[in-house]
């Protein structure tokens, strides 16, 4: 089991490394860095709050079932 897990971890790391973009973020022009930060930042905030939304909805459903 442990061996299988180690192989899986190594395989995942190799795939991630291969898929990783070769762009060095530090070398990008200043404004491009800004645009990337803005786009990723806004997306991140919406994503995390969307997860909070899903969580609350799930809790509401569980609460409704309990009430029934």
């Amino acid at each position: 089991m442990m061996k299988w897990f180690m192989t899986l971890t190594e395989a995942t790391e190799t795939v991630v490394e291969a898929a990783a973009p070769q762009t060095d973020l530090t070398q990008l022009p200043l404004f491009t860095k800004g645009l990337l930060t803005t786009a990723m930042g806004l997306l991140g905030v919406f994503l995390v709050l969307a997860l909070f939304f899903v969580t609350i909805k799930l809790m509401q459903k569980i609460g409704a079932k309990d009430a029934q």
Binding site: G34, F53, Q60
Partner: protein
Amino acid sequence: MDILAILKELFAGVISMVSVDGLKTLAMFVIAGVLIYLAIKKDYEPALLLPIGFGAILANLPDAVVLGEDGFLKVLFNAGIANELFPILIFIGVGAMIDFSPLLKDPSMIFFGAAAQFGIFATFLVSLVLIPIVLPATAGDENLILRLASAIGIIGAADGPTTLYVANHFKLVEYMAPISVAAYSYMSLVPVIQPPVIKALTTKKERMIRMNYNEERASKLALILFPIIVTAIAGIIVPMSAPLVGSLMFGNLIRECGVLERLSKTAQNELANLVTILLGITIGGTMVAENFLRLDTLLIMGLGLFAFVFDTAGGVLFAKFLNLFRKEKINPMVGAAGISAFPMSARVIQKLAKEEDPYNFILMQSISANVSGQLGSIVAGGMVITLVTMMLGGA
């Protein structure tokens, strides 16, 4: 030592006032006086502006003994700001004050907490352009420009502790004074800044939209689970936000668990008040003339205002956008409460709604958006720290 030398030594402070530095000191006294005036006379965030104003007076006294190696303001700075302790403690108190019940009843309001962070990123971009132009000394230093733009953008979070946390994380000690003064003074000016922006972007008809609200309180289990789950989600996705989210949610859990009423009251009152006093006077202590009377301060104050305006606009416009698809319309003013500034922004929105229709009650929806803004601003702070650190190559 002759008499003249003794007198010179004795009255060094008085003599220093009759010089260029003396004029700067006087200018800082005037600024401190304005802050104290706003606190006492206008009741604008007195708990913060008064200690900040008094701290500024102390810091600008000749020789500034309070800022010396063992000076108490220096000790407080190292103990509470340099290591980010005060913002964290404040958040425990804030968390204990927040009731997430309205949000748990109407979770769709949570997206306003994200939309109203638009100003942070818009200001960040504008700052990247303006900083090298207005402050030529920074030109070429991309590292400083990015860090400073981040801290200026976060002023738009309308959330003092998060602003301090980000500025401190990026080691912007010499910019701490104008950044924190901008953040706290604009927070206190929410009743002045938000209404004109909202009115410019909405029609009277839109401002009169009524919204239904379910009075039923959320279940106790949900109120207990919410802070724990939120901490886990935010901490896993945006680890940099963990200290702030964690302390906010810890305070909230103390409130909602139902078995720590004494601790909850202490966090809401004694802890929050004590740290507010120390935080205020320590921030005031950073307002030394040579760090404050500079072009940077004007730039930071101007961009801070821009951030507040665009945050408000982002929330309102997002609500109007949602209304294009919704059958049950949202009062777009509620979107403006998505900026943090809890609970002042929600109160301002309710007051505006009442001005248009005395029987319109949208306070609970505004509070939902407002507490979402509290969460959104922390997550935005964490995102900015993470992304900018990546752009700087992990510096």
